[in-house]
Symmetry: C2
Subunit: 430 residues, 2 copies
């Protein structure tokens, strides 16, 4: 008789419920593929009585998630509680300390504590897997850890937050401004009541730090990710970008350069013929550039009950098959400590948008600041005054060191000509 | 001390040379990722003296590839000889019979003999891996076997032959006809001197049969793949498709329906907003539709030295890490024998193009054949006569059983109104 893989599930929100449903719906198929049954034996959540649309009476109930790690009848603990620290981290540590396998969808915890947990997994010879933490149902952790493992990766980048991509592509399709689309997304349940984690880029930054570690063989360095979100983007920016042949996407990008590691999450102009430009709605996508394979592109659903459960159970199947190893693709001691690349030395092109007062001399002031900072303007559009009398000036620079652009913006800081904070977006070079 | 993974390489063509180059170029990184060095110890090829641009003097030379399997200092044999049978198959059998791991890029052999080899691998507890056999550098074998393993897959389909996609997208961009583009592709080395294996769809069919087995948990059934190639496609077809909102791609599609398994390789009309419509040049792409994950899309380079070597070495890294298992995702005895779906019962829309004589009554004859076969016409375009006096009539049908369309074509067979064989392309329903 083959032994089932016995699972304890901590957290019964959308994803936890999805895991229960998936293991029910695809039970026979999963047993064939995994070589043995995968069975939930115990669950834990805050509220025992909430109706989750699945029968939980079959499973032991634990009021304390931490107790799951101690059960002799559990081989794997699946953590879907969330939070970088707190109960999730306690559970992770306790599970690995007992030599049990640990599976999580918790990007914040992996980004902050992944190396510590990988070390614990290594010491115990236990599996630590987190496919669902990045890009939901897309097997991109596996794609980097294994599929592209033969390659030196130059860059990894992508659309890592579905809420932002939904908002940006809805703004693009409808010509609407940020605030209204966000409010609608919240009403539809596509954005959280407190959306800052998504729209300010933090969620994407967690995922990017994880991808960078896998791609470059470096330790996790979430603190070095430069982060900008999508709040300042106007419908007009998207329209100007389109006129120039680009679409606006929130791109997480990590690049291994000779001077260090660049990691940033930033709204970007993406050329219209680039695969990322075709990623619509709440989809996610990741590009990895390898020195032998060239450009690999993965696209799929980055969040939600089904896709996230798909990734969690894929991890469980790997564990049931005993096909797993170093969580960050190599033993922790083999990971490099790579310094962050010095800010500003990277060369690239940028999109700049200024909201200016409608009076003489403003354009001369902008142009002078660019000139003095050594930034050459490739194209510039000024549109007539809006109802409030403000005027938009959008420009695209020629390639230059990024610090020149920030220098130009610094020169304009406090200028009476500017009616608001300028917007800087990088242009994705391909 | 960790033991290196010791590799014997049979076949030193483009891909074999690429594997040697990759293992040289990324040696240190691969050792970190694999946890131990991967070292070629012996090689074999037809011609010992051809310059391959890599130093082979480091390796033992075997005149007889078959002898590689018998060497005590070899853990894995990599077969890059090609051919469904013959020396490649002999080597595969000999390697697995001795309990050694076997890696191949040989789609023809896997499509024809994969189940036999998987059984041999199972009996010996040895690895049998073939990531490079489908879609080159894209980790799509891994994506189906592992990444999407939690899902029941409804369909798997994609662009599986780079030569065909290069020809079709060049025809599309330049408005040129098939023959000229093929001749140019041959001159540039993008197409073989004898291109039939690629352009008649056989190569894509090998790959499709492999994907279908992985996706549906069925035994390989290459013989049941319905195959049509791209020779009959005119620049005019591509232009008509574009006018209707589609692009023409050679699509391999496998679908698990209640009545059996559909597998076919066929030129298709793909909606312009579908990811496959954006796949340009010699790129490959695969879509898998899972019941929980939704649509997964993978794109990358499907052939060539670097991408194929990347996939071969990814397999070697999996073996070095001891992360491998059942070659077709489950033990051979767990695979279903699924009957082919009865031809013609599937419902769909189709594009039909007729080259007709320019005289009265022709259109009436076409329309009557459609009516009598129960095919309803959704749109029809007739363009004025070409220099040779022939006229093109292109139409798109409403959804109907596919046998109705083939019935309509049968009714027109031998008609004096037709100046050539009509072209049928399916429309990809999404």
């Amino acid at each position: 008789m083959v032994q089932p893989l016995r699972v304890a599930l901590a957290g019964l929100g959308v994803v936890g419920g999805g895991v229960v449903k998936l293991l029910d719906a695809n039970r026979a198929l999963i047993e064939r593929r995994a070589g043995r049954p995968i069975e939930i034996v115990a669950v834990s959540a805050r509220d025992r009585h909430r109706d989750r649309g699945v029968d939980l009476s079959r499973f032991d109930w634990a009021d304390d998630a931490g107790s799951l790690a101690a059960r002799d009848d559990v081989d794997v603990v699946v953590e879907l509680v969330g939070g970088a620290d707190g109960p999730a981290l306690t559970l992770a540590r306790a599970t690995l300390a007992r030599g049990k396998a640990f599976v999580t969808a918790n990007k914040a915890m992996v980004a902050h504590h992944g190396i510590e947990l990988a070390r614990a997994a290594e010491a115990a010879g236990a599996a630590f897997k987190y496919e669902a933490a990045v890009a939901g149902g897309i097997p991109v952790i596996k794609g980097l850890r294994e599929g592209a493992a033969a390659n030196e990766i130059g860059r990894v980048y992508g659309i890592l937050n579905g809420t932002c991509n939904y908002i940006l592509t809805t703004m693009e399709a409808a010509g609407r401004d940020f605030a209204g689309v966000l409010a609608e997304a919240q009403a539809l349940g596509y954005a959280e009541a407190d959306p800052s984690f998504d729209i300010d880029g933090v969620d994407a930054a967690h995922k990017l730090a994880i991808l960078a570690s896998l791609a470059f063989g470096t330790t996790l360095d979430f603190a070095s990710v430069a982060i900008a979100g999508i709040r300042p983007i106007l419908a007009a920016d998207i329209a100007e970008a389109a006129a120039l042949g680009y679409r606006v996407r929130l791109v997480g990008l990590a690049e291994a350069g000779p001077k260090g590691l660049l990691q940033r999450v930033h709204p970007c102009l993406v050329p219209q013929d680039h695969p990322l430009a075709h990623v619509q709605g709440s989809m996610n996508a990741v590009v990895a550039e390898g020195n032998f394979v060239g450009r690999l592109f993965f696209e799929g659903r980055g969040a939600g009950e089904g896709p996230t459960a798909s990734a969690v159970v894929a991890d469980l199947i790997d564990i049931a098959r005993r096909e797993y190893g170093a969580p960050f693709a190599m033993p922790v001691d083999s990971l490099d400590e790579r310094a962050p690349a010095p800010r500003g030395e990277r060369r690239g092109r940028a999109y700049l948008r200024f909201t200016v007062a409608d009076r003489p001399g403003v354009l001369a002031e902008l142009a002078a600041a660019m000139r003095d900072a050594g930034v050459s303007i490739a194209s510039l559009i000024q549109r007539g005054a809006a109802a409030d009398g403000s005027v938009l000036v959008a420009m695209v620079t020629h390639e230059c060191a990024e610090r020149c652009v920030t220098d130009a913006l610094a020169r304009l800081e406090g200028s009476q000509s500017l009616a608001g904070k300028p917007l800087l977006m990088h242009i994705l070079d391909v």
